[in-house]
């Protein structure tokens, strides 16, 4: 939506869209039908597209979809225990989640990425024995590369814990300890911060 009044549904992202969106750099224009000319950016991709019969352009709408998907996938986080996995394999909200304690809330390891796991299987057997399979089935934030790509701060005298991602500048996650409230929002330019390793 451009004005918070009229909303349009975005289609789910496809792999092509994701691959192309990584090539496009620079700010978003604000117009969903704006077309990026791929021939300037990446001649190979443009050539491939031309061969398959499509035009070598990428619509801003597609780039937006891909960016949203990427952000969700890479930095969408939830606190530990908020979601449980049943023995049947389906994941749903833990209605009995009372929130993290203050001590837990300050630790990065009590927050998980809300996506399919990447490194869970690589943990040592000792670590796996400590895990509780109903709550610890997601990747923790501790092992994010590069280390220190999250900034964790307590605000308002410790009543709210705020995590900010440094990889996607503008992604903010909040949680009120000992309550069920948590969530994340993104306000920003929609560009990944590729200079992160230099900046730490």
């Amino acid at each position: 939506s451009l004005n918070c009044l009229d909303w349009s549904l975005l289609t789910p992202a496809t792999k092509e869209m994701l691959a192309l969106a990584e090539q496009v750099k620079g700010r978003f224009q604000g117009d969903p039908s704006f077309e990026y000319s791929l021939s300037e950016i990446n001649a190979e991709a443009a050539a491939r597209l031309v061969e398959s019969g499509k035009e070598p352009v990428m619509k801003e709408e597609a780039r937006l979809i891909a960016t949203v998907e990427q952000i969700d996938r890479e930095v969408g986080i939830v606190p530990r225990g908020a979601f449980v996995k049943t023995p049947l394999g389906s994941v749903h909200e833990n209605r009995h989640f009372e929130g993290l304690s203050l001590v837990e809330a300050k630790k990065l390891s009590s927050y998980f990425h809300f996506t399919e796991t990447v490194s869970l299987k690589n943990k040592t057997l000792m670590e796996k024995a400590d895990l509780d399979p109903s709550t610890d089935f997601l990747d923790s934030l501790e092992h994010d590369i590069p280390r220190g790509s999250w900034s964790i701060q307590l605000e308002k005298g410790g009543t709210v814990v705020v995590l900010r991602s440094l990889l996607w500048l503008g992604l903010t996650f909040y949680h009120v300890p000992m309550t069920k409230q948590f969530g994340y929002v993104y306000f920003g330019t929609g560009e990944k911060n590729l200079d992160l390793p230099f900046m730490l």
Partner: protein
């Protein structure tokens, strides 16, 4: 007899009371024995666990009481958790004779800190007298600014704005300040910075320069003493080749009150913590800050590890970034400020500007449409790192007279740099590739008479300015970095210096051993002997 309440399907004993549904139906048709069976079942339920001292009967009673009291939705899905909770609630702490320390919640500590902000100072009468003499220092109306920025969706929440307001008031009471402004907030990894832009009263600044001058004089004396000692030592030892490398002359920083150091900045991590003054910025720091991009940690004394190495710690880096952001993004409606003297030449640098009393604010729609209605009111920073260009070779001539050791200079004449003059319109700011340097918007389309013109910088994401009639303000909320469409390419370290080219003249060879030398000598003698014999033979022939 059974004060238990209706049995749930999963509990043992369910259905025992229904005629025809008991599991022992075929075994115990007799009602009396059935009652006995029921009693047995109940006795089983009452059997106390050996581990925890609970029994199943009471536990179920508690669970059901809790469920009926709270009536959660979809109870059957969370029944295990409820059971765990009830067990957990049973746990009683051992009554120690020692009492636990009264736990101080961090919320309480924070509240104490903020409370200090709210306390009025004693001795207000003295302050009032001072104010009348010196002229009232202007406390910025942070709440009003926050209101205007809120229209644009930018800003901090009201609590924090008010705390900042009070903290600024404290700052004014403590330091001799002429004008003060809330500059903005820079986010950091561990803590954030709240920054106030301040102009100190003139007496204070001179004192500082005096102190610095004294310090340098002391150092100079020390250096002279050390150099004399070194000279004596060198006279005794063989003189080592002195390197002819002279580092490029250091570009002096601008005096307090002009150029990049026009304002003094105070920072604090949170409103309520004491304000710390940032040191004035040197051109070398600005030049280096342009090449690196680092996150702020939130601690002012943290080292900045980077290449090229940054001269200073995080306080200096912060000050340099503030200077760059101010120079790049502080704007005001065109015509609000005008030059004091219209005849001033560009060389001297028009540093002073004053408010134009005849300024008529253009309507908001016009402010939004064309960028020509906004102008910078801070001088841009040249490549050298200063606002006013200075020729470094001139300055070092003065130093020559003071230094004892003179070395001839081969300084290249650097080209004079000219920056954009003060009060240039921002429509002349270059964009990057296709992106314009500024984006202007009106805060609302629905109520044009009360809307505010908002300006966002694209070069420094996080810098905003608003204007509404005569009021305008700049602010910064962000991480403190410039925007670049390409990724950062840090400077490569300089190539390793080439070694002295090796030739036969200085190549090391193995010294011949004694045997070899003897053999060589013998061979030479043989050759000589043969030559003599040859001569003798020739002589004999004759």
């Amino acid at each position: 007899e059974r004060g238990h309440g209706p049995y749930q399907p999963h509990e043992p004993g369910y259905g025992l009371d229904q005629p025809g549904y008991s599991p022992y139906e075929d075994e115990i048709p007799d009602p009396q024995t059935r009652m006995l069976a029921i009693k047995n079942a109940k006795a089983y339920l009452l059997k106390t666990s050996t581990k925890s001292g609970l029994n199943l009967y009471d536990h179920f009673a508690n669970i059901l009481t809790k469920i009926l009291d709270e009536q959660p939705t979809n109870t059957v899905d969370i029944i295990e958790n409820i059971s765990k909770d009830v067990k957990w609630a049973q746990f009683r702490k051992k009554m120690d004779t020692l009492r636990d320390e009264h736990l101080i919640l961090p919320t309480f500590e924070a509240a104490e800190k903020y409370k200090a902000l709210f306390i009025k100072e004693d001795g207000e009468e003295e302050h009032e007298e001072l104010e009348e003499e010196m002229g009232q220092p202007s406390l910025p109306n942070v709440m009003e600014t926050a209101f205007y920025f809120e229209q644009a969706g930018i800003g901090l929440n009201k609590d924090e704005s008010y705390y900042i307001f009070l903290a600024l008031k404290n700052l004014i009471n403590v330091q001799p300040i002429q004008t003060c402004r809330f500059w903005g907030k820079i986010l950091g990894l561990e803590m954030n910075y709240i920054i106030a832009e301040v102009q100190l009263q003139e007496g204070e600044e001179e004192e500082e320069i005096g102190e610095e001058g004294e310090e340098t004089v002391d150092e100079g004396q020390k250096e002279v003493g050390e150099v004399e000692e070194e000279n004596e030592q060198k006279a005794k030892e063989a003189e080592q080749p002195k390197s002819t490398y002279k580092p490029p002359p250091e570009i002096p920083k601008e005096a307090n009150g002009t150029g990049t150091n026009k304002y003094v900045y105070f920072v604090c991590n949170e409103p309520g913590t004491p304000w710390v003054k940032l040191p004035p910025v040197t051109p070398a720091q600005i030049v280096c800050a342009r090449k690196i991009k680092k996150f702020f940690t939130g601690r002012l004394d943290a080292p900045v590890v980077s290449f090229p190495p940054f001269p200073g710690n995080e306080a200096n880096y912060l000050r340099a970034q503030i200077a760059r952001i101010s120079a790049g993004t502080h704007v005001s409606p065109t015509g609000f400020y005008q030059f004091a003297n219209e005849d001033e030449e560009e060389d001297e640098g028009a540093d002073t500007y004053e408010e134009n009393p005849e300024f008529e604010p253009p309507p908001v729609a016009e402010m939004v449409e064309s960028l020509a209605t906004w102008a910078h009111h801070v001088k841009g920073i040249l490549n050298q790192g200063r606002c006013v260009w200075i020729n470094p070779s001139q300055k070092s001539e003065e130093n020559e007279e003071e230094d004892e050791e003179e070395e001839e200079e081969e300084g290249d004449e650097q080209q004079e740099e000219r920056g954009p003059p003060l009060l240039t319109l921002i429509s002349e700011d270059e964009g990057m590739k296709d992106i314009p340097a500024w984006t202007a918007q009106a805060s609302t389309d629905l109520i044009p008479q009360y809307s505010v013109a908002i300006l966002q910088s694209n070069r420094w994401p996080g810098a905003y300015a608003f204007a509404s009639g005569r009021k305008f303000e700049n602010i910064y909320f962000g991480w403190g970095h410039k925007y670049s469409p390409e990724s950062l390419t840090p400077a490569l370290p300089p190539p390793a210096q080439a070694e002295f080219p090796s030739g036969p003249g200085i190549t090391e060879t193995v010294d011949p051993t004694v045997e070899e030398e003897m053999a060589f000598k013998a061979a030479q003698e043989e050759a000589l002997a043969e030559a003599e014999e040859g001569e003798d033979e020739e002589g004999e022939d004759d």
